[in-house]
Point group: C2
Amino acid sequence: MAPSPHGRPRRTAFLLSQLGSLSASRFAERTRELGLTPSDAGTLRWIGRNPGLSQRVLADRLGAVPSRVVPLLDSLETRGLVERVRSSTDRRNYELHLTGAGQALLGRLRDVAQEHEGELLAPLTPEESDELARLLARLAEGHGVDVEAHRDTGR
Amino acid sequence: MAPSPHGRPRRTAFLLSQLGSLSASRFAERTRELGLTPSDAGTLRWIGRNPGLSQRVLADRLGAVPSRVVPLLDSLETRGLVERVRSSTDRRNYELHLTGAGQALLGRLRDVAQEHEGELLAPLTPEESDELARLLARLAEGHGVDVEAHRDTGR
DNA sequence: TATTGTTATACTCTATAACTATA
DNA sequence: TATAGTTATAGAGTATAACAATA
């Protein structure tokens, strides 16, 4: 890319990294208030949208390795948020479901996500927020980032 | 924040996290080709801009703890990129400097950063890139993010 | 023989606290 | 007594590979 009009190099990519990190850490603070890590939150989201999915598929969706989701689900199951049900058709794998408590928490999680969104975009006007959303969506599309994928970036 | 005009919740904050993570990991790939971690790169940048600074100050600038910068500098010093010079006025602390090789590598690092910027913004027109830079700068300012600070987010 | 989920292990990254040497 | 830097240790997070159960 060419330098900016004044000859000073642009740092937009770097700024994007910094703000992305800020957004992720602020969101992690909010999920922590719900007793969840960002990985917990992503897992609840995926199971909520795709009830009955297997651990193998969940691992793929999260961009994680199967052994990684074991302690993740152990923790959520212990807290009564998720259930592992043996598949009757293939007894090797589980069908994952949210419990009632899990669904309720997922609802609160969505509220929290919207609050987070509002706080993050507060410095912008509604028009600017719209424009930013458009530009980021275009950038994501150009780089093949799946907007729906919930690959948690961790902290 | 209010939902988007069509009632579907916006995911701009999440998109920002994802793209920030993408930007950081792509940059890490490029620095790795130079034999540097992102932390190495940030350290070279800070010393290059502030020759003679102490490890304590460097740690503050990097947002790290003093014990963290020890192995970082050990590695850079072993590779002949950085020098630790005992301060003559206060023999407790070091004055950090880049060697000639360190300065040369910092130059290549700047080239790499600009290439990275170009690749990342490639899906946008120049006008859109300008607009994105403006919006992100406004967002950073609103949240008190120091644009010059080089707090590396890690991977 | 292949696949799902599990366990055991190890590796990376980082922070905390104790230590030394100077001041 | 306070500060710069160092070392030792421990913790979080994650991946790799071997394993048991089922297909």
